[in-house]
């Protein structure tokens, strides 16, 4: 087991390096965008004097590297800084919305992962049957539409005038658990439809790939039921690629849902990122970018650890 721990530590260290590089790239990229915070926030009503005064007040008149290292040293002390726009601590701004984003991702994953694994296994079992073709076709159809279109269709079918579900999931007060499930159902379902195809087809392909192996042939010759062959014998060996795809999709659920947030008025991190980039609110942009990057790093790490654990040859090293 010890080499797994050393892998985890090594990967975590590399993860920090990744985060550092990401922060550097994001900072540089935002600097390259035309206009700065003072100009953007004053917009059409900017005058040279007010822009200059605002820059001075916020320290934007400092050279780029000084601002970057100032930010970096704060981050290393665990201080995310304050929003340039309204002085709210970035940690607070992100904290609230990160909770929302994670719960939506979790909600969608709780539907999507069992659904796609189940469908994938069944599709492998009944491969080339009508069921297999139908499941594939509908999953591919829903992934092929842009997210907002899927969202509109769901609103049209399930919200509307005497709708079962609310068309906007905006909640101003903390909802109870069941109320949350009700209000956030449509965005979760939209995300489910968007990510299911990828995971389902990977499950199906990974299993079918194994079905030609001699040990499966052996199991079949022993007279095992097809379902048992797949679940007991094929699936454990197909887990590694499936776990990786699941992790990739989970990361997507955290970082890539801004369109769904906008359509369903769901207050998550995506909109925060978009607004902050538009206003060049650097500390918030950096903070959110770090969270997104960290989500990818951690999920990939988890996937690798789980994939390793699913393979006895790697767990019990020679």
């Amino acid at each position: 087991m010890s080499h797994i721990w050393s892998m985890v530590f090594q990967r975590l260290a590399l993860g920090f390096l990744t985060l550092f590089i990401v922060s550097l790239i994001i900072f540089g990229a935002t600097e390259l965008l035309p206009g700065d915070f003072a100009q953007e926030i004053l917009g059409q009503s900017a005058t040279p004097e007010t822009v200059a005064a605002l820059r001075e007040k916020l320290g934007l008149d400092q050279p780029m590297y000084i601002r970057y290292f100032g930010w970096l040293s704060d981050i290393l002390r665990g201080d995310f800084g304050e929003s340039l726009a309204n002085g709210q601590p970035v940690a607070d701004l992100i904290g609230r919305r990160l909770g929302n984003t994670l719960s939506l991702a979790l909600y969608a994953a709780a539907i999507a992962v069992p659904l796609s694994l189940g469908l994938g296994i069944l599709a492998a079992l009944f491969r080339n049957s009508f069921f297999d073709r139908f499941a594939n076709a509908s999953a591919l159809t829903s992934i092929s539409f842009p997210e907002f279109f899927v969202a509109y269709i769901l609103i049209f079918l399930l919200a509307g005038r005497e709708g079962l579900f609310p068309s906007i999931s905006s909640f101003r007060t903390d909802p109870s658990f069941t109320e949350y499930l009700h209000r956030a159902f449509l965005p979760a379902l939209t995300l489910t439809l968007v990510v299911t195809a990828h995971m389902m087809r990977m499950t199906r392909a990974a299993i079918i790939n194994l079905l030609a192996s001699p040990y499966i042939e052996m199991a079949r010759l022993k007279g095992m039921k097809p379902m048992r062959v797949i679940v007991k014998h094929a699936l454990p060996n197909a887990l590694a690629p499936i776990i990786n795809v699941v992790a990739l999709n989970l990361a997507y659920l955290i970082t890539g849902v801004v369109v769904v947030e906008v359509v369903f008025v769901y207050p998550g991190l995506g909109q925060l990122m978009v607004d902050s980039v538009a206003a060049r609110d650097m500390p918030v942009v950096q903070g959110v970018a770090l969270i997104f990057a960290a989500a990818y790093v951690l999920l990939n790490l988890t996937a690798d650890v789980l994939a390793t654990l699913s393979n006895p040859r790697l767990v019990h090293g020679r």
Binding site: L33, P34, A53, S167
Partner: protein
Amino acid sequence: MSRLSGSHGISRRGVLQGATALGTAALITPYGTPLRAAPKRGGTLRVGMAHGSTTDAMDPGTWEADFMIFQAHTRNNYLTEIAADGSLVPELAESWEASADATQWTFVLRSKVEFHSGHKLSAEDVKASIEHHLGEDSTSAAKPIVEGITDIKADDLTVTFTLSNGNADFPFVMSDYHLPILPAKDGKIDPTTQDGCGPYKIASIEFGVGASYVRHDGYWKAGLPYFDGIEQIVIHDDAARQNALLSGEVDYIDTADLNTVSLLERSPGIEILAVTGTQHYGLPMDTRAAPFNDVNVRQALKYSINRQQLVDTILNGFGSLGNDHPIGPGQRFFNTELEQKAYDPDKAKFYLKEAGLDKLDVDIHLADAAFAGAMDAGVLFAESATAGGININVVREPNDGYWSNVWMQKPFAGTYWGGRPTEDWMFATAYSEGAAWNESFWSHERFNELLVKARSELNDDLRREMYFEMQDLVANQGGTIIPMFAAYVGAYSDKLAKPDQVASNWRNDGHRIGERWWFA
């Protein structure tokens, strides 16, 4: 109403309020009966708004978009108020008077006005609230409009402003949304405060998401407001916002998508609110740069644009024709004698010849950030201009950073103005020489002279004469094409009731829907 071109027959149903002539209510009631039940109290108004960013802030000096401006009028009061008919009425100031040269203005405040926190309104609060926007290190967007104030004296309930130059419209300036009266402490306001003396208290606010308000029971306006509370929800997506109204998640939306508004109109229980006031879209040319430095070239371009087509297609009929000056038909000194420019390629050719050209090639730099539909408007303009021998190349610019990199940087671009309540304010902001936002870099001696003269003139007849001439000058000598005045188009559930006249100075009944509307 005649200036509302309605190819869609807007007046057919719904309530539409057109160009608000001062004092003459231009209103068509839906069923022809002016009878209304008396307003009653109760209910929570849920408002869906198209704007609102996580980068909004409480500081009044940063307010620019509708979410915060709505918040401002819901939570705060101002010294003066623009009434629904466009006239100026007292709010926190009970009365005011000016010195003969209009350089000194004395406002007498109402007694017994209380802030939500219980703090009593005094002249010190007014002084501190205005001073927040003044001074060298001011970062306020309102700095240019209060810059003329050289001194503020506060004495119990009397505030005296001394101005560097006479300004007959100064009380109008005090109604600007950046200038709410906030409680002062030790001579300064706390710009992050959520206190105010308006009709509602803030219960909670989350920028870019929404805000909740509850009624301020000690509000000084007797019987107001009618709602128990207000929920303000940011819904950026047009379809989501309209769906929210249709499914009853909100009672009112501030912006309806012009492309689908006719569908929305057909839904039962939904009414459309369209108000044309001072909001206008323009195409400023840099009058210092060739070829726009020749007034004949500018005139040729002004006759090459098909205004009616733009109103019909870009605004879907929700607006009126512009005449290349920024004064709306509802304003006090709107020039009624000025001939309306129309699409006329022959005239365009004539002016080109005057400029010594037989054809003209220009680039126009546009993005939809300038105004909704700006790209399409540019293409239509290019198309109609070819008949007059003008070849316009429409350059698509990114929305992001438009105001810092394109507007007033490229010689020919697009712009929009929410408009200003007075002629002087509008002209001084965007047409006077040296003004920070003089987007056409226009400098016209006679115009600038008239502007200063009219500002301190207290005789209305003389002022009218001067403003008429100034509108003529801007329209026929100036550097901005103003093809259309755009209506504010929103929609609401018929459970809501509204007063006979709806203000046209801003969206949302002058952003005062919270104290002017009620549940039927």
